[in-house]
């Protein structure tokens, strides 16, 4: 038995690519708006105006509270990767995500109103089988962002014009699990930041113009936010070459804005058309710095600015019941090169339906259902060398309780 030793230099190889796709952005922040495909920024006539157009709270009488949640159930499949000449299908594990929304508005006097909202403008996740073919890209990922949004508004010109503005304080949590399998035994990498580990600030404002009884125009804007996250990187197999310990990253989340018009051709019927802009080009790359060795994992994203076109209808059937429906088309911001299984995005069509039921003058209940099939997406030039076909159908169910105190 001869034993000798050779010292060879090696260094860290944890290939890392992380993403938070366009699909993480949520626009379901109130069941009544959701039932009309989110075409709501021109009317913005319930407390979810705090999200859609803060100018809208000017017209909410007294004290109002609007509370709700959305159940989101994505079903996704991936076929491929074609890079391995295979067409095998992997299914995402079923999981339900539940973004919430809480809005409070208070009329201060004839001119001013105040509001406070909490919701989740970003937040979703994926969980693939532990041993699937894309495990080096993503096994589990979850992002959740809370927006705390105090707002003031004022109305002018005989209540024909209203302006509202707010401040946004964001808290965000992230959990990402993937496998580093260059070395054996393979190691899961977990990046985890709790809710108070991700922080950011922003502002928003909105303008509403009501020239006629049956006509509304709305314009609103929500600033981009740089969410600074610091969390822990842990490895299921300990190796001195792994950058275990604290890690930090900044997520450049996009600005969003609505241009909206609503019209009531006959009594009890409103139709609205909104164009929502999302400034995803802010998301050029993601850099994660591992503090142990200051190694940086940088991933190109190169997202594009994008639009969602929204069309909604609302009909007051009786004094107690409002029926709503809508359709939107969402152009995805993710270029073919950077689509990955963490939350693969694709153009989407949203089919919405819902209703409101008024129990009495103080309490009503809103329910909305959104059927959201993604346009099948096949990538042929993935930077990650993970080409394949993604399909996704998501069902969303939103409900809110509306209290006029």
């Amino acid at each position: 038995m001869i034993t000798k030793s050779i010292i060879v230099t090696i260094f860290l190889v944890v290939a890392v690519s992380y993403t938070f796709g366009g699909g993480f952005q949520l626009n379901e922040h109130g069941a009544r708006a959701m039932a009309q495909a989110g075409a709501f920024a021109a009317r913005a006539n319930d407390p979810s105006a705090l999200y859609f157009n803060p100018a809208g709270i000017s017209f909410l009488k007294g004290t109002q509270v609007y509370l709700g949640a959305t159940l989101i159930s994505p079903s996704m499949t991936f076929r491929g990767p074609y890079n391995l000449n295979t067409n095998q299908e992997t299914k995402l594990e079923n999981k339900i995500y539940t973004p919430i929304n809480i809005y409070f508005t208070q009329e201060i006097n004839d001119m001013f109103s105040f509001g406070f909202g909490v919701n989740n403008p970003f937040g979703l996740g994926t969980k693939w089988p532990d041993n699937w073919v894309g495990k080096t890209l993503s096994i589990k990922s979850e992002v959740q962002l809370f927006d705390f949004n105090p707002t003031v508004s004022a109305k002018f010109l005989d209540d024909k014009l209203s302006f509202g503005a707010g401040f946004n304080y964001y808290l965000g949590s992230v959990e990402i699990i993937k496998e580093a399998n260059s070395f054996y035994p393979p190691s899961n990498i977990t990046l985890k930041a709790g809710l108070t580990d991700g922080k950011g600030v922003g502002y928003n404002f909105g303008l509403q113009y009501l020239p006629e009884e049956n006509l509304r125009f709305g314009l609103s804007y929500r600033s981009p936010v740089d969410l600074k996250i610091e969390g822990d990187a842990t490895f299921s197999q300990k190796r001195s070459i792994f950058p275990e310990g604290r890690a930090k990253a900044t997520l450049n989340l996009p600005a969003t804005g609505f241009i909206a018009a609503a019209y009531s051709p006959i009594n009890d019927l409103w139709i609205e058309f909104d164009a929502q802009f999302i400034g995803w080009s802010s998301y050029k790359k993601l850099e994660i710095t591992f503090l142990k060795d200051n190694s940086v994992s940088s991933t190109e994203k190169n997202y594009k600015d994008t639009w969602i076109l929204r069309f909604g209808v609302e009909y007051k059937l009786t004094s107690d019941i409002i029926l709503s429906s809508g359709y939107f088309h969402d152009f995805n911001p993710v270029p073919d090169e950077t689509v990955d299984p963490m939350l693969p995005d694709s153009d989407r069509n949203g089919f919405n339906i819902g209703f409101s039921y008024k129990f009495n003058d103080k309490i009503s209940f809103d329910l909305a259902y959104l059927y959201l099939p993604f346009v099948q997406r096949t990538t042929e030039k993935s930077d990650l060398f993970f080409n394949g076909t993604y399909n996704n159908t998501t069902h969303l169910l939103g409900f809110n309780i509306y209290l006029k105190l």
Binding site: V8, T77, A180, I241, I321, Q376, T389
Partner: protein, 457 residues
Amino acid sequence: MKKIYFTFIIIFLVFWGCSKEDVPTSPGRANNNYVGNADFTRYVAVGNSLTAGYQDGALFKEGQLYSYPNLIANQVKNLGINLDFQIPFISEPGIGSRISVTKVTSSGAEVAINTVISTPENLTLQRPYNNLGIPGSVVWIPNSNGLPISDVFQNVSFLTSTQRNNPFFAIVLRSEVFGTNLIAQVKAINPTFITVWLGNNDVLGYATSGGTSPSSPTPSAIFQQIYKMMIDSLSALGAQMVVANIPDVTVIPYFTTVMPYIVTNGVKTYLWGQTKDGVRQLTDNDYVVFTAQNYLKLGVGLTQSNPLPNNLVLDKDEVAIAQQAVNSFNQIISSICNSAKLKDGKSIPVVDINKFLYDIKKNGYIIAGEKYTSDYIKGNLFSFDGVHPSSKGQALVANEFIKVINDRYNANISFVDFTSIPGLKIPVSKSTKEINSFYFENNFELKYQEILKLFKP
């Protein structure tokens, strides 16, 4: 009104209920996998250590399981094809000088080399093995008379193993009962499919010994003569075939890990070595072999009076000779295969491993977001011996064969799932404390500076 209300509730519940079952299935790109015209019923692999699945300086069961012929066989089996691929397994830890990484420290990895002699398994098989890759086998056996003798046609005899100090002839070919030489054993299987990857050692031995042993690669004329005999004999068996060519030796980590210089405070100082031109300072065109690290640690190569010995330096003239041999062998292989005729009247396709490895050296290989390179250890495609592919490297070789098989035999066999192939075995630390005490520095310079300090005259 209540009625409408409840109707809506029911509609929602139905939708919501459906959503649990409604998982979309996508047609994706239509590329269901099939074996096409390829007939793998009786598949035989002819080759050397690369074919045998030799890794980390030894032949052992796990490396054999991840040899490219066995990986190809598994991909075919996955398609429901009945295929019995028998391997001359050697139990762990194997036979050879097995290298393992024992420790990862702040300055690098510490490697242990153990001479191991384990027992062969699968000895009761009453026919030749399907993997007939024999580590160390050559197209031409160097001999002073220049006789065209070859491991392909050499009579099966335990004498060969003894003469060559190589136990693998006896282990892989076992007995004349199964055939009097390699070709006869291939024939005895009545193969439907043959892969051939041979000839590497006809230049590799020259290169890894720094151009000393043997003192030249196999002469092209002899290579041509024997290789043609081999292909003629194999193609006469009526099987489908695929042949791989030979990679440039300078792409392997054995020649790219130790640089011909050391760096001190950012300044390069070239090492001294014995070359064809005598003792001289090395240049960027010279290669230093992997094992020279042990000599550098002792101060050898740092001064003119204490140069690296000839067998540790593949100098620029020797590099040119080795590359010339590879080019010439590859031209011979492709011309012989192009003019050969298989049963279907078409020629034998060639897997261009040379180009493939050159691309990897240049660009690396990326799959599912992870990048692999030809670098030692961190590149993950070569085993710890710096010459032979790792399991993942073997998977890439298998996939290159499969591409050619798919193309030539109208097959559509899926590639080996590279991500499920085990990576290099790097020890796992016991505690977080240990991890924190190793602050890992990616610094090749530092190491040699420290060495210099120790051995400064």
